[in-house]
């Protein structure tokens, strides 16, 4: 499971996740699990990619994504956010410690009952991906020169 989550996080960060629209072939175990887990979900659509299926939906007026494996287990919930929606300690850390960077991607990911945030920061020379270790600190996840 850890490997699947790592691969999912990395593909979301790199933007390489490709999901094919194919409602008919969506695993019904995943669909049933989803209906049980997110009974109030609206505007649900399904996509498939490799071993995982992805549900895009609206809940409490927020767009969320849920990822299921073939057994119908919920692997992750994610949502794209802006900096002002980060918890205050993470937001403050970005403003203080990475003032020279701009945010090119930011999302929240829930796996195994734990929440992490992934941020992609860029300046003219570098691109840094960081993962929140808790709700107060960022840890470098990937760094590359442009």
């Amino acid at each position: 499971m850890k490997k699947t989550i790592f691969t999912l996080a990395l593909s979301l960060i790199l933007g390489t996740a490709s999901f094919a629209n194919n409602d008919e072939s969506i695993n019904q175990k995943a669909v049933q699990s989803f209906k049980k887990e997110f009974a109030q979900a609206k505007e649900v659509s399904w996509q498939k990619a490799g071993d995982l299926v992805k549900a895009t939906f609206t809940l409490n007026e927020r767009v969320l994504f849920a990822y299921y494996n073939e057994a119908g287990d919920l692997m992750a919930i994610t949502r794209n956010i802006t900096t002002d929606l980060l918890p205050i300690a993470l937001q403050t850390s970005l403003r203080k410690d990475y003032a020279g960077y701009w945010v090119s991607d930011l999302f929240e990911m829930v796996t195994g009952g734990q929440t992490n945030y992934y941020v992609t920061l860029e300046n003219a020379d570098h691109k840094i991906v960081m993962k929140s270790e808790d709700f107060g600190n960022w840890a470098s996840y990937r760094k590359e020169r442009k």
């Binding site: 109030q40 927020r62 919930i77 918890p87 205050i88 929240e108 829930v110 929440t115």
Partner: protein
């Protein structure tokens, strides 16, 4: 155990903040620590909240924030009002489950001992509940106030 009591005292202080201002005299060490941590803070107002704690209310990045310092100038707690959109997914889910038929009065984000949690005040026909929701979605009632009959 002492940490627990300070944490509980801070939670109560956050709930009741804004109700009293005694124009507390704050030592320079505390003021200096505050100015270093919140360099762009606007309009700070100080008060003493007991147990050797000082509360400062201020505006930063258009948000009203509350910080709590001890006598050693350590930042022990930070709080701000947040909207539901600012809540983590698991916290929002707990609110949806626990307060289905209640009206949400206010939500505060609270950072205490490097731990983030959310204080939610919600009202229904029986009364008002103030609950603490942890980032894992865990839920703890802090205070319940019954509606006055008649």
């Amino acid at each position: 155990m002492k940490k627990f009591f300070i944490s509980a005292a801070l939670t109560i202080a956050v709930i009741t903040s804004g109700f009293a201002s005694d124009g507390a005299k704050v030592n320079k060490k505390v003021q200096s620590a505050f100015q270093k941590e919140f360099a762009t803070a606007f309009n700070p107002t100080w008060e003493s909240v007991g147990d050797g704690l000082f509360h400062v209310s201020f505006t930063q990045n258009s948000e009203v924030m509350d910080a709590y310092y001890n006598e050693d100038a350590q930042l022990v707690s930070l709080a701000r009002f947040v909207s539901r959109e600012q809540l983590p997914i698991l916290v929002n889910r707990t609110i949806a489950e626990r307060f289905k038929s209640a009206e949400l009065l206010e939500i505060r984000e609270l950072v205490n001992d490097n731990e983030t949690s959310y204080l939610v005040s919600a009202k229904n026909d029986k009364g008002t509940t103030i609950a603490r929701i942890y980032t894992t979605g865990g839920y703890q009632v802090v205070k319940k106030i019954k509606n006055v009959k008649g």
